[in-house]
């Protein structure tokens, strides 16, 4: 990449849009929220944030026609939290058909004695495959808040464990995702966003 990155946040209606934008601002990057096709296609980096439920986030993307557009993007794309879950074929949450950019399904994390759902708090990343997106993040603590996860994704590059392992970060070609919240994961979160911007 040459020159300043042009980052856009896709309008998925999530409540964390402002926080993700602020996280990029702390890195000196303005990342406007948009659903405009031309602006998105002209961006160097595209972010799909998300908080809430898979079905309502997918509905919002479809409403804006963004489900069609993201399938055509070739620049680096990262989904965050629900945004990462939407990259898969489907989510068990509300039996939702998702974008299908990554093979696999998102399912509910099972609870068991001592394993409470939602998985809420700081947990460690474990590297499964070297990738520039996860450089410097092995064994780092990051902040998770979720009840659903991709548990057997072939695209997993880092995983996390809450009762059982699940994909914490995924990557396949230009399509990437983080199940945790980089905007709320202190220095490790900033590192992830910097790694993404360097792609």
């Amino acid at each position: 990449m040459t020159g300043a990155p042009r980052v856009v946040l896709l309008d998925s209606g999530g409540a964390n849009l402002g926080s993700v934008r602020a996280a990029f601002a702390r890195l000196g990057v303005d990342a406007p929220v948009t659903s405009d096709w031309n602006t998105i296609q002209a961006a160097t980096h595209v972010v799909l944030p998300g908080v809430g439920a898979a079905a309502s986030a997918m509905a919002r993307l479809r409403e804006n026609g963004l489900d069609k557009l993201v399938a055509r993007l070739t620049q680096p794309l990262i989904g965050i939290c629900i945004g990462m879950q939407l990259l898969f074929e489907s989510s068990e949450e509300g039996d939702t058909e998702c974008l299908g950019l990554l093979p696999g399904k998102v399912t509910r994390l099972p609870s068991s004695p001592g394993i409470r759902i939602p998985h809420m708090g700081w947990n460690r990343l474990e590297t499964m495959a070297d990738h520039p997106l996860s450089a410097g993040l092995d064994q780092q603590w990051v902040y998770f808040v979720h009840s659903y996860a991709a548990r057997d994704a072939a695209s997993t590059i880092t995983r996390c464990n809450h009762g059982e392992p699940f994909a914490a970060m995924v990557a396949r070609g230009s399509v990437m995702g983080a199940q945790f919240h980089p905007e709320r994961s202190a220095a490790a979160g900033a590192r992830l966003l910097k790694n993404f911007l360097a792609l």
């Binding site: 409540a15 926080s19 439920a53 409470r116 939602p118 998985h119 809420m120 603590w141 009840s147 994961s185």
Partner: protein, 258 residues
Amino acid sequence: MLSRRIIPCLDVRDGQVVKGVRFRDHVVVGSIEDLALRYRDEGADELVFYDITASPEGRSVDRAWIERIATIIDIPFCVAGGIRSVAEARAVLAAGADKISVNSPALERPALVSELAEAFGVQCVVVGIDSLRDEDGQWHVRQYSGDPDRTLALARKTLDWIIEVQALGAGEIVLNCMGSDGARNGFDIVQLQAARAVCQVPLVASGGAGTASHFADAFLQADVDATLAASIFHSGELAIHDLKRSLRSQGIEVRDDF
């Protein structure tokens, strides 16, 4: 393995952080931004801001400072105070809060918890419970505890309310044990153990922290997911990084690489 969380609680009144003893006699501790940054740097895992006068005064929380905090802080934070509707909650979340906590308004109208969970997902919805043991030997819920003159003792039993709010969609429960709050004699382990036994979602202990060992007791004896405290941190008596070092040495998993 999921770490146990340390959460400083910032009671906000008229735009400043205040602290009372047993929910009374509040004194100003400092500015919201200064304390938020200080705790973030010390290694706090999360922050909770309670607008303690919002609920008794029947108004929603002021949003300007939420936006400022959301911009400067890179750890999660929760906002509580007079959130009575999905629209008010949406405004607080849009201002940058990661979670919203409801207490008195959920007692006024329990369906609020379900409405919030449906609109934003259970992970956003925290239910705060102020609880005190009464003469019948049972723990009962208090309402409007931010204002001693308006605080109500309710017939509702604390453990029943914990079960009910989980069914309604609470993603986390903060149990404020009022009998121990501000007294610094330790968390109310017996009450927390009873709460833990009926609480399948994350449980946050609040009220009574006076030493590092009190935090360890709450994690080891009551298996809480997080501990919340105010005075011990505000006074500078216990720095969070020292607390975490102590917990780590006792085999308690904490985030200590900040």
